[in-house]
Each structure stands twice: as C-alpha cells, then as structure tokens.
C-alpha cells in the first residue's frame, strides 16, 4: 500500500506530472500519476498543494520563460539550445499547474529537434522523462537506452531506464540499472530507488535503511523532498506495524511541508490503524477537498461503510470511479483493483486489468488482475496471475492476502471437484 515508488518519481522529479490523480485525469484522461501506487495512494510529488503555492509565482515565471523560448524557437525551429529548455519548462509547468497539456507540446518540440538532429543528446535525455510521465514506458526505455548509448557516463539515463523497467515488471534489468546508477553517482535519488527495489523484494528493513539515507542526503532547502522522504519512512513503518514511528515521520513530513498530502493521508492511516475512524475520516475528507483522488475517495467510502452508512459509502465509491476517468483510458490497474475489491462492475474490472496487463507485467498489475479474475470466479487464471504477483518476494500485505485467498480457493476447488461440488462462491465474498 505504501506509495514508495513515487520515490522514484521524486528522484526524477521531471518524470512526474504531479497532481492529484483525479485532477490530472479530469484534465487529461490519459494522464494519471506515473506511479500506480501513488495513484492508488494519494497524490504525487509536487502535489496540488505545492502547485497552488507555486502557480502564482513559479508557474508565472515558467510561462514567461516559455514565452521567451517560444520566440527564439520561432526564428530557429530546430535550435536545440532553445528547444530543450523549453521542453523542460513545459514539463515543469505541467507539474506546477496539474495541467498535462504542456507535456504533449514538449514531446512535439523535442521530436522536432531529434528529426533534424537524431543524436541530439539533451533532447533525447528529456524525451525519456517525458515518455515516463505519459506512461509510455517502452518508449521511455527506448529513449533512455539510446541516450545511454550516446553518453554511457551519465547516471541519469540508468534512472530513466530502471524506472521504465520497473513499471514494465522487468525487475532484474531494472535493479541492474539502479545498481549501475548507484555505482556511478550515489545520491538521494538513487537511494530512493534502492529502497523501493528492496521493498519489492520483501526486504523492508533494508528499504527503511536506504530511505533513511535518502532523507538525510536531501538538502534542507528542498523542504518538499524532505517531506516526501519522511512520508515514505512513515509508510514503511506503517507497513511494519510501528505506528508510533510512522506517526512521528508523518508529523515530521508535515513539519517540513505543511499540509503535505502524503503526510496528512499518512496520519489518517495511522489513526485508522489505531481504530480512530472519525479522526481518520476528518483528515481524509479535508485532504480530499484539496487533492481529490481515487484512493482518498475509496478510503472515505470504506470508513463510511465500516460505520454502517451504506449510502455515504456508495457516494464516495462512485466519486472514486469518476476520479479515475474512463475505463478505456487506464494505464494503471488501480481502478480495476478498486472495482474488484468492492465487488463493483466486475467485468469492467477484468477488462481493465487485462488491458493494462497486456502492456506491463509489474506485480501490482498482476495482483489487480489476479483479484479481478478471482472476484469474477476465474480461479485458475487468478492463481496464475497471483503467482506472478508474488515473484519478487514482496511482502505487500494486500498482495499476500489476495494470494492466500486465491490459493485457498484453488484448494477448495480441487477438493470440491473431488466431492463434485463447486466452491467458487468463495470468490464472491467481499473482502
């Protein structure tokens, strides 16, 4: 459940079109935060909280800069010295305003440069990051590999490659890329990637170590990054059941960066874990008004349901669906998982999960696929997908819980077959 992977997006801030997932999706359905789990969780780095603060200052500054560079580019259309900073500024404008349209322009501009000069290194380097932000992981990987071939000594390219490979589920190659990056140029951005890789492999203690170093390596001036790392430590503590430590890190996060979405949602999760439903609900509702996301709406719905308020739960579940955008536009399986977990629109859940899984084989997509199959009564397929979701040795509670239920259903099915009955009903039980 932890949004640890957004560490990678934090690490390469440019790859992130930050925004509340919902807000971004509403603006451009094809664009939701890079990290599936960040989307499922809350918001991404540079969330709308920061976006609001900066839109009056930074965004204006960026727009001015974009205007100047635009003018230069009009005179010299293939001028890489203007095009690359322009693409970079457009990417950052997207991040600061939660509007994804500038990214599309950035891509067009960089492609123009690369058409005139296919080996223009800086353009290629930024293009990989832009593809990542657009969830075009194969394109990102291609661009990063070409950039790597042009300049093997630039550690950055291994970060883009690794990020794309992680999203695609090609973990061995991804981890190699991260280790290469670590050997070339250790930094907070690398440590965060190492932390996530260790977490994927089920090494939570190691993940905590690396994330702690990432936080310590982050400059005091970058309050947002510090807040981000503190929140990630909170997530890892939460997952290891150390609620006091988790609460402390979330508070630290909010100290570095008041109203930081990761911190507020994290504090809400600690409250929920301690049984303080009302306290959690208050924090989640407050945050939802600032950063409307599928995850927050779903959590609020769950809390209402737990209090026995079915109509309120349904309202928020519907909101969660709306925030995710149209089913056909999903590049993440988090909507499928949401639907499957709440027993809603199961055929849609299966369709989304299958469509996403056709493009990527990361363990979270496999888990969503497994759970959608399971809820739809397709136990054999669920078991196969579940096995794939377990392949890194993850100790993700949700994946493990799903796997256990699916395994039990397989057992039951075998036993049932022997007894001539059908225990597939098991799968209908809501979580």
């Amino acid at each position: 459940m932890a949004a640890t992977y957004s560490s990678l997006t934090q690490a390469l801030p440019v790859i992130l079109i930050a925004a509340a997932a919902g807000a971004a999706a509403a603006l451009a359905p094809h664009l939701v935060p890079h990290d599936r789990r960040a989307a499922a969780e809350t918001t991404s780095v540079g969330s709308s909280g920061a976006g609001r603060a900066s839109s009056a200052t930074t965004a204006d500054g960026l727009r001015r800069r974009i205007g100047e560079l635009d003018a230069r580019l009009r005179d010299h259309p293939a001028d890489a010295a203007a095009a690359v900073p322009l693409a970079d500024a457009l990417l950052r404008l997207s991040r600061a305003t939660t509007d994804s349209r500038p990214v599309g322009r950035a891509e067009t501009i960089l492609k123009g440069v690369l058409e005139a000069e296919p080996a223009q290194y800086d353009a290629l380097r930024v293009l990989g990051a832009i593809y990542l932000s657009e969830h075009r992981f194969r394109d990102a990987l291609d661009a990063a590999r070409r950039a790597r071939d042009l300049r093997p000594s630039d550690a950055w390219n291994y970060g883009v490659m690794g990020d794309a490979l992680v999203e695609l589920g090609d973990y061995d190659k991804a981890f190699d890329a991260f280790d290469t990056m670590a050997a070339m140029r250790p930094s907070a951005t690398v440590y965060a990637r190492v932390a996530y890789a260790r977490e994927l492999r089920g090494d939570l203690a190691g993940a905590l170590d690396a994330m702690r170093i990432a936080g310590e390596s982050t400059p005091a001036q970058d309050a947002e990054a510090r807040a981000w790392y503190a929140a990630q430590l909170g997530e890892l503590y939460l997952r290891t059941g150390r609620l006091d430590d988790a609460a402390r890190e979330y508070r630290r996060s909010a100290f570095f960066y008041p109203e930081y979405p990761h911190a507020i949602v994290g504090l809400g999760k600690v409250k929920a874990a301690r049984g303080d439903r009302d306290g959690a609900l208050a924090l989640f509702l407050d945050q939802l008004s600032r950063t409307p996301t599928l995850d927050l709406a779903a959590r609020i719905g769950d809390l209402h349901r737990a209090r026995g308020d079915a109509p309120a739960a349904e309202r928020y579940y519907q909101l969660a669906e709306d925030l995710a955008g149209p089913a056909a536009a999903q590049t993440e399986a988090n909507l499928a998982l949401f639907l499957a977990e709440r027993g809603r629109k199961l055929p849609v859940a299966v369709a989304i999960a299958e469509a996403v899984a056709a493009k990527r084989a990361d363990i979270f997509t496999e888990d969503a696929l497994a759970w959608a199959y399971y809820k739809a009564g397709r136990i054999t397929e669920a078991a196969a997908a579940s096995q794939r979701a377990l392949r890194t040795g993850t100790r993700d509670e949700r994946i493990l819980a799903h796997a256990a239920q699916i395994a039990a259903a397989m057992q039951g099915r075998k036993a049932g077959r022997q007894e001539g009955s059908n225990s597939g009903q098991e799968g209908r039980k809501s979580e």
Binding site: T58, A155, W156, P186, A197, A205, A223, E224
Partner: protein, 466 residues
C-alpha cells in the same frame, strides 16, 4: 515550563509560515539536475597563514548559496557524506595525505523537530536541538601504513547563525568551535559567510561582464558588477597544518584538492544485514577554481567528478581548446584582441601542472590547487593583491588561492591571453590588450575577512537579511 511551551508554539507557528513562503523555491530547481548541495564542493583555498606563517591553511567550502533565512530546516553537513581534503606532496599527482571529516547530528529532544527551542547560549546548550559534531582522521598513503589515524573525535561545530534571539552571541559560539588538535593542527567546521565573489547574474546571461557591456555582441549600458554571492553563506571545513607536517624534503610545492563522497548503496546487501556500508564513490571534487564550471562540458561533469586528478590528462583537450576563450572571441570579438582557441598549452600548464619556476610539480597533469609553501605570505589576511601572480604577488593565485584572490578576473584574463606585464616579462606569456583588463566588476567579498583562523567572516544572520 509553560513559558517554554509558549515559546515553542510561537516558533512552530513561525516555522510554518516560513515553510509556506519557501515552498515555491523547491520548484524553481532545474528538475533534470539532481541537486546535491551537501556533497557539492563550492570553493577551495590554500595559502600560508599570514598570522602563523609556519602553517598552511586549507579551506574547503560545501553547500552553495545558503540563504541566511533558511529556517526551519537549517543547512548542515550531511552525516552520510565523507568530506576529504587531499594533499599530494611529491608531485606524482596522487594524494599522500588525506584529511577525512565525518559528521554526526544528535537530536537532543526527540519531541520536537525544531532546530532550537530557546536561545543557544553555548555549544552544549540543551535548547539547541540539532547539534552536529565531527571526527577528523588522517590517512597517510604510500609511505604510511594506509590506516586512518584519528586526530580528533566528537569535535563541536557552531549552530547556524539564526538571529539575535536564537544565536545572540554568534561570534563567541563560532570561536568556541575552533579546535586545536595534537601536533598543532587547528580545525573548524561550520557555517560561514561565503567568501567567493562573482557576478553570476551577468556571467550566466551570455557571458556578460557589466563593466564591458557596451562591447558585448548584444550591447547594454555599462554598469558596475554585482556580487551574486553577497549575503549568502556556505559550510566551511578549515584546517591549519604546520608546513613541516605536510611537505616532503625537496618538494616545497603541494597539490591540494577537496572532495565529497557518497556511499554506494546496492539493492542486494552483501550479507543481508543493514545497508549503507558500501564503498564511497567520489561525487564532487575541486582543485583549481571554476574548472567544473568553465572548462568541463556539461555532459562530462559526473564523469569528471568521479575521476581521479591523476587521470586528468584525459580532459586536457578542454584546456587546450577552451570553450571560454571561444565565447570571449564570439561575444567580445569586436573589442578584444583575437584569442587563440587551440593549442592553449599555457592554460594546460598553469592549471594542470603548475607555473614553471613558481609552483610546477612535474609533467603529470592533474587538477590540483598548487601551493609553493616556500613563498612567504605577502600581506595580512585580505590585503593581498586580488590579481595575485598576474600582478606580481607570488603569494596569491595561482600559487594556491587566498580568500581575497579574484579568481574570476584572473581566469577571464588568462583565457583571453591577457596575462599582464609581469608574466609576459617573466615567462613570455601573451599580454594581449585590452584582454588584460577583463573582469566582472566584482573585486572583493561583501564582508571583511577575519585576521585569525578560520579567516572567513561570520555567516550572515537570518534575522538581518531581507
């Protein structure tokens, strides 16, 4: 007790305001560049101490452009970084002595995230919640056994200079953090005023030099230079060492560089235990000033930073065909005498092997700050000629580097082959005119230097700065 709680509450409220206001700044950073200021060498100085001429003072600064009002997250050294000052004393461009600095931050009150919860009256004041101490080790390479000797442990650093309420007697705090170690070595580590001075705003606007604005390819009215580093602080590691401890008989010239290294943390931990114990990888180094900025091309900086100085021959072409000289021709071509942009063996010699007869260390090319320790200080601290050797002041840059040396103007002239009459006469170096007058118009630091170690001025106070 209640009073103290009130104080904390007020401080927290204030802190919240400051963060809110500071928010935008993290988004102003170039998102493609991985910012790592705590492992970023900003400047290196090495000079014979005017007040203790039997010693050499080496100053290695880290963390660029610290705004004084930077609470609540005040800058500090990074506990996870290995800071080093390396000395080559036999001319082979390999370090013979390495002084290592590792920091440790303590949290005195785990119940608060604040830097301090009351005035910091002394270095042991319990209301200073985040004191940082450090350990100094000396590694003797080559002839020595290669093991690290601990010169000092748990040495104090001063807090950052916050304001009249938090750090009322700052100079006393800073003075208390100057430590004398066995053997007469003196050390200091902590925040100081950044002694560097340069007109970054104009130089990064198409290599503009305000006093020469009318002569630029895109002319503007002339105006005085503006010191972009004025009112900014940095974090300083300063060490003063008896000359006898660092030179080798017959080799009065030492080569110095400073570095910062980070642990390589791998995904699979070797023994399945706690991580963070991988080897150190050098991520930043600094010998001569402005090399990383002005000589090494953008895409090679990571590689350059993790390369050893002894292998710097591989970068020699960037010295002999310098980009800066090309730019000077391009942007000031109508006003300057034509500058050679190839075969600039003068630059390679001065910056990679030392000036013959002054601080030449041998044919091996390496980016080291070379100091001939047999040349006595020529003036009190801050009173040397800012143009150093160009003006005939042999105790200044490029013979080591003093805090007052105007390395920007010196290098601008050197790259433009305007070496001045002194070096023209002495070594036959070109003295093209008016290239020998170039400069950014910023000639000195914004704060006077101290007459005694660590010489750098006290940091600007957050409270004082707009």
């Amino acid at each position: 007790m209640k009073k103290r709680l009130l104080f904390v509450a007020a401080a927290a409220a204030l802190a919240a305001l400051m963060v809110t206001r500071g928010r935008a700044s993290s988004h102003r950073e170039a998102p493609l560049i991985s910012q790592d200021p705590m492992a970023d060498n900003t400047d290196l100085y090495a000079f014979r101490s005017p007040d203790r001429p039997d010693t050499v003072t080496i100053v290695a600064n880290y963390i660029p452009l610290e705004p004084p009002a930077s609470g609540p997250n005040f800058p500090a050294f990074d506990d996870t970084v290995l800071y080093e000052i390396h000395i080559d004393n036999d001319g082979d461009s390999k370090e013979d002595l390495t002084y290592q600095f590792r920091f440790h931050t303590e949290t005195r009150d785990p119940d608060t995230f604040l830097y301090n919860t009351g005035p910091i009256a002394s270095l042991t004041d319990p209301s200073w919640n985040r004191p940082q101490t450090y350990t100094v080790k000396l590694v003797r390479h080559g002839g020595g056994d290669g093991r690290a000797e601990v010169l000092g442990r748990d040495l104090p650093t001063p807090p950052d200079n916050i304001g009249p309420r938090s750090t009322p007697d700052y100079d006393a705090l800073a003075a208390g953090a100057v430590t004398t170690l066995a053997g007469g070595v003196t050390v200091f580590a902590g925040q100081r005023d950044d002694p560097f001075f340069v007109d970054l705003g104009s130089i990064f606007d198409l290599a503009g030099l305000r006093p020469f604005n009318p002569l630029h390819a895109i002319p503007l009215p002339a105006e005085p230079g503006r010191d972009a580093v004025a009112r900014y602080n940095t974090h300083t590691i300063a060490i003063q060492i008896p000359i006898a401890q660092i030179v080798r008989a017959g080799h009065p010239t030492i080569g110095v560089y400073a570095s910062a290294s980070r642990r390589e943390v791998r995904i699979l931990r070797p023994d399945g235990t706690t991580g963070g114990e991988g080897r150190f990888v050098e991520v930043s180094r600094l010998g001569e000033p402005l090399i990383n900025e002005a000589v090494i091309p953008l895409g090679r900086k990571d590689f350059w930073n993790r390369s050893e100085p002894e292998d710097d021959a591989q970068f020699a072409s960037f010295y002999t065909s310098p980009e800066v000289s090309r730019l000077e021709n391009l942007l000031y071509g109508s006003a300057l005498a034509k500058i050679d942009v190839v075969n600039r063996t003068d630059l390679a010699a001065i910056l990679l092997t030392g000036v013959p007869g002054l601080n030449f260390t041998g044919p091996r090319q390496a980016d080291l700050l070379r100091l001939n320790t047999s040349i006595a200080p020529s003036a009190a601290v801050g009173a040397g000629n800012r143009l150093g050797v160009l003006a005939g002041d042999l105790a200044g840059f490029p013979n080591g580097r003093r805090l007052e040396d105007d390395v920007v103007d010196i290098e601008l002239r050197a790259f433009a082959q305007g070496y001045g009459a002194f070096l023209h006469t002495l070594l036959g170096l070109p003295d093209k005119s008016p290239n020998n007058l170039l400069g950014d118009g910023v000639d000195a630091n914004d704060k006077p230097l101290l007459a005694h170690f660590p010489y750098l001025a006290s940091p600007h106070q957050g409270y004082d700065v707009p």
